[in-house]
Subunit: 786 residues, 2 copies
């Protein structure tokens, strides 16, 4: 009786519509009802109307769908459907709809709301809304300073592997509970969308976001309270402020507090090509955000647990308050100049008192005196005159401009007694194109500004457990790579190479900046210096990118010979995905690929192969490893770039969050001992730092780009990280968890843990949801805690 099939592109914030998606298990399609938990607004309802029962079937369809399984964001549907999927989608759909038709009488007992407008009439009006809305209705004009913010805003949390875009739908607000090791970064997302508009022209409204430090209730908090009550009662006003500040400072020094702006950072998630990716820093500890009608704004909260942090429970709050837009021009937003001055003065205070250990008592007293006098000056400056209100200093310091109407989002953090090693267990070497820096920032190769910019890039990327190398491409795929732009005898090179966070560094086989020496002389001198150093074990030479024919392989061999002549123990890294095309090593492509180590030996020590070669056949990894002579110091590393594509793990824009993070899970499972990525800043050419970001022609978006120039998004010079870079870091941290677990229970058990949590089973079988990651981490915490 199916007379006509309609597909309606639907949306509903609080209603039971359905969505579908093809998962990486390609022959499956899941269709589901969304209740209060919505992941996306584009819901597809499949209405199959028998001609005369349009109303009934419409209703039945909705209720029937309710009984099937729920999945996740069809926003990424386009990104994730490969043509191979379509046939199966279409097939499964017809199976699905048949089932719906057959089951359509099953749920008659459910009360279904009449819907005004279905076929032109009726009324759903007043039908109770079971969503996340507050029951108290607002009326009339809205003054955000007089209404609980929860009536004006939807606020909800999402894990860091979720891609939360402007069209994402609100969920229930739940408090945040996190686990992190020392020297680990853990992140969470907070999404905000307006329920009403109160902001006037063009925006829905302004919100103020503030976060407190995270405090351990262990004792410091207790002390603070008592000190404060004393202070409050007996001491004069400015002295109170002063002591309060000193207590804060003390707690940070003592390790009972994770301070905002140092350990805690807030960034706004900005879509790139419509996909959430750029993380633009927000002012701390208070910032203002404009919300737009119908749009979800997302804040990325990161906690960096210092290596010396005391393990234990920490608690803090993120406080979100709807505010009047006018507040922007009042004391809340200081001018850039004022802000910078304030920052400098406070930093100077801190520098004065820190570090104190090992210093004689007299000096400590002197220093604290000096710092407090600076602080008094700052705190009594006109800048803070607005805060001299009746509420007393506690409220002021802790919660300036926050009222009882604010939304308070509790953050609870467990810091456990495991220290992520300063040096990453698996080196992740990642390229930074010096050419891009030269063009975009308009600096001349070798100039002072050039060195400064390279230094900035190096230091910034080093935060991400990455070992950067600079690179420029020559003829064919010859590549000049170097981790330090300075010669080996320059103090900066030693500083770079000795940094414990750097796991590997590239040594150039010639001068970077022209000097008197020939390439050979330069190389010999560099190697002579470096071989004497402790960090020489981190050194590698990356000379050619993917040699393709005999000529290229021969060049590579010659270059490697020259290096080995000066340093027989030098490690040559070579990337490849096939043997020489003009003299096949075998009639079978994969066989030829497998024979490359034998063909290149001894001119390469680090055999770095494309993950794309393996495809979904993990067993091939064993064949590759079998060819590597680890007993002779040879290593197997891998890389991703243009390929592999979806559904395999990679860092392309538009892939899933877990797919980004799984790049490193894959490395752990396959057993590679290092990883290479060709570029972190390889956008299309531009000659202005703030030029719009274009991805390079022929490359999938995001490929070769892991961060953006800060100038594109604000007046800041600091690079802006991508979500994908954060997930790379998370993946590297996951490896440390797995390594800890393996150190206790063996490598096989660590793979077993990946499998039983459902986190990672293979390049096409890994979790799409966040939960298994937390389960894995929780299990490592539980079993390795003591």
């Amino acid at each position: 009786m199916v007379k006509q099939a309609l597909v309606v592109l639907g949306q509903s914030r609080n209603s039971g519509l359905s969505s579908f998606e093809a998962g990486p298990d390609r022959d499956m399609i899941r269709v589901g009802l969304r209740g209060t938990r919505h992941l996306c607004n584009f819901l597809h309802i499949f209405h199959f109307y028998p001609f005369t029962v349009v109303h009934q079937l419409h209703i039945n369809l909705n209720t029937t769908i309710a009984s099937t399984t729920l999945i996740s964001s069809p926003c990424n549907h386009k990104a994730r459907s490969s043509p191979g999927n379509w046939n199966s989608i279409a097939e499964t759909l017809s199976t699905f709809t048949t089932t719906v038709m057959e089951n359509s009488g099953d749920h008659q007992e459910m009360v279904v709301p009449p819907v005004e407008g279905v076929a032109g009439g009726g009324t759903a009006y007043g039908w109770s809304d079971t969503g996340v809305n507050d029951p108290r209705p607002l009326r009339g004009a809205i003054d955000p300073t007089k209404v609980p913010s929860l009536e004006l805003l939807n606020v909800w949390c999402m894990p860091n592997t979720a891609n939360v875009g402007p069209q994402d739908m609100p969920r229930e607000l739940e408090s945040i509970s996190l686990l992190a090791a020392r020297n680990e970064r853990e992140s969470i997302q907070i999404a905000i969308s307006p329920k009403v508009s109160w902001g006037g022209s063009g925006i829905a409204g302004t919100v103020q976001v503030q976060c407190t430090d995270l405090c351990s209730p262990c004792g410091a908090r207790f002390v603070t309270t008592h000190v404060l009550s004393f202070v409050h009662t007996y001491l004069g006003y400015d002295v109170k402020l002063l002591i309060l500040f000193m207590v804060k400072l003390l707690m940070i020094l003592v390790g009972c507090r994770l301070a905002i702006g140092q350990s805690l950072t807030l960034r706004r998630v900005v879509p790139v090509l419509g996909i959430p990716d750029a993380l633009v820093p927000l002012d701390m500890p208070v910032c203002q955000l404009n919300l737009f009608p119908g749009e979800t704004t997302v804040i990325w909260v990161s906690i960096d647990v210092p290596i010396e942090q005391t393990p234990g429970q920490y608690e803090g709050e993120i406080i979100i308050s709807a505010s009047k837009a006018e507040a922007e021009s009042t004391n809340q937003s200081l001018s850039k100049l004022e802000k910078h001055q304030l920052y400098r003065e406070l930093r100077d205070c801190l520098d004065t008192v820190e570090p104190l250990e090992g210093k004689p008592l007299e000096e400590v007293v002197e220093r604290v005196k000096s710092a407090t006098s600076s602080l008094r000056r700052v705190l009594l400056s006109p800048l803070f005159s607005d805060f001299f209100s009746d509420n007393g200093p506690i409220d002021m310091m802790e919660e300036d401009a926050i009222s009882s109407l604010s939304i308070r989002l509790k953050i609870s953090l467990t810091v456990w007694d495991f220290v992520l090693p300063a040096t990453p267990s698996v080196p992740a070497v990642i390229g930074i194109s010096d050419t891009v820096i030269e063009d975009r920032f308009g600096v001349e190769h070798g100039s002072n500004e050039w060195f400064e910019l390279l230094d900035q890039h190096f230091k910034w990327l080093l935060q991400y457990r990455i070992s950067p190398y600079f690179c420029r491409w020559g003829n064919g795929m010859r590549v000049l790579t170097y981790t330090s732009p300075w010669p080996a005898d320059h103090p900066k090179s030693d500083e770079y190479f000795s940094d414990p966070r750097l796991a590997a560094y590239a040594v150039p086989n010639g001068p970077i900046v022209p000097c008197g020496d020939t390439a050979k002389d330069y190389l010999r001198r560099e190697v002579e210096i470096l071989r004497t150093k402790n960090h020489w074990r981190k050194a590698y030479f990356y000379l050619w990118d993917e040699p393709l024919n005999i000529e290229q392989y021969t060049s590579l061999r010659r270059m490697a010979s020259d290096i080995h002549a000066y340093a027989p123990d030098a490690r040559i890294l070579t990337t490849y995905y096939c043997g020489p095309s003009d003299a096949p090593l075998s009639t079978n492509n994969f066989e030829a690929f497998l024979k490359v180590p034998a063909f290149l030996r001894p001119h390469t020590q680090i055999y770095c192969t494309s993950e794309w070669v393996i495809g979904n056949r993990e067993d091939l990894a064993k064949d590759i490893i079998a060819e590597i002579q680890t007993e002779n110091g040879e290593e197997w590393w891998t890389y991703v770039c243009l390929g592999p594509g979806d559904p395999h793990p990679n860092w392309h824009l538009g892939m899933r969050g877990t797919q980004h993070r799984a790049v490193m899970w894959r490395v752990w499972k396959e057993g590679g001992t290092g990883f290479l990525y060709w570029g972190a800043n390889c956008y299309e050419k531009a000659t202005v730092p703030s030029a719009e970001i274009k991805f390079r022609r022929g490359l999938p978006p995001g490929d070769g780009v892991l961060f953006y120039p800060g100038q594109v998004f604000s007046s800041s010079q600091q690079p802006v990280a991508s979500l994908r870079l954060e997930r790379l870091l998370s993946g590297l941290q996951d490896i440390e968890y797995l390594k800890l677990y393996a150190s206790r229970y063996g490598r096989d058990e660590s793979l077993n843990l990946l499998e039983k949590t459902g986190m990672y089973l293979g390049p096409e079988r890994y979790t799409l949801e966040h939960r298994p990651i937390d389960v894995m981490r929780g299990e490592v915490y539980r079993t390795c805690q003591s």
Copy 2:
């Protein structure tokens, strides 16, 4: 040799990537290269890599695609793919890829850029950019007041049927050339995206958009120039300003100028659920917009040609200038109060001098004197002190704050000598839910505020060639409809019903606001009054929405009888899509549907049927018409609501622009004499005017919503139109063009015109592009001009 298939979700602003789409001709898929003309950023590249020739094939693929046909925005791809299409997409894709594979050797002569990063290396860097970028490279920090705006911005134009979203890609900037009749609205879109960021925190930058009046070069412009040169030379400063203003005023009165803010309006296109839909008014004649990194901002420019406008050529400019964000706080943005005061004063001046025709000379002189003295006061007020610069009054008035660096976009408009009838030829009656107004604006039924709000809604919608009716739903699908909330003898009712723009009005069959009368008494009195009026021919009674069973049909008959007892010539309108389900009129559903007129007669005069019933079988329309006794004054009207769905014409969000507009083309082709739509404001319940817009559960987004409360987007009380409402208006205007053509050449020729231009051939065969619409209009202009 195809070893692995990759689908890469790609993007590239100026590169040769490809996209695909399934058109309404379902067995077709078009794949193409985008060169300088980009419609969307989500481009899908299909890389089929034979294992060993990854580089070569990648390149060949790109060049091969270059030779196939180009299409349009895959942004809407998701919206437009119905499951039925997927099979054919998958099929066609495999055909396509086979072709690509076969042709991959064909274009070896083309020089292909090496791509840095393909498989990890290479360098495309410095490869010349053939896109829309300015050749002069910017360097260093950017001061927008010192750089040509074209170096900072992409600006391009799009037709009104395009859905241009935040992710749309720049095109070439072309000047605008429009055709419009008198009493017609014609619209165009201007898209702007930043090439660089210069705005500081969170935004890419601020642009100022200003437009000039459109002037006919016929003579007024000539006069102005000469008068001005005289004025400039001989007269004092304030007198110059004054005369200049009077000349402007004169030109408007004389009909040689289309004035900004009156005939010319600018609105910002704001996405709803990520799809461009809401049109939020911009300040006139100058406004400032914030651009965001990587986002396209769209301005909707509408020109309303007054009924008395002199035909001819009009020219004007839209001037776009990148500006410093600080400008917002200077004189450019007046306070609301200042603005309102200024507006009132200027309006008073205009009211004083207008209308002058038929007035004795003395009075005219008196009036002009009075107006000029008001004007002098205004122009010399401190508000304009900034304008008292050295540039002289001409520049000030015409182009304040515009420099030679601005982007000047020429608009040329041909107003032709055809007047769209004040009363639409095909009545489009559209519902406004009074319940929604009561809840959302917190007004009590029947209160003064209630009457005011209904009045506002009525007048606002009337601008769209729509005949509004208010409605509320009762038990079953009984519906109370009324065009005027006042009784028939109230002056407002007469004002409403006599308005020439109103083509039809609904008469309630009982009191709207409780009064002493019984429903019957009230009805009789109303009818008695209305029957004496000239506008009685516009009256109709809409009593029941889609009766489904005998009981409902019987109720409807009884109600109709009561009305006909008082007024035998009263027109009853009934919507339906089937016969009574409990007493089938035939064993065949469509047969039963066809028999409804015979079954209902004489209790219905306007048989209003769902377009969904017809599906894609237009021939059924003839069967329906055959059942209607037009000789007895019976009419056939149609409606759309939940159905029909894609690809048929309807007003759902996410459908194509031409699909929205085609609703009315369909009416013309099928021969209906009226059209009904159930709701223009039927969003989900809310109790605050500025509450976020939610579409009702179970309905496709946009269904029942043609405009939004202004408060959601700004502090304005005025409703905010949807793009879909504008397209509805355009469709109604198209009907007038077609009717004019039919009046000269016959109805069949008008259908022939639709067919030969490719504009509309049937509910699944209409243009997806804008051009055929312009061709149709141009043809009517050419052939009916004299």
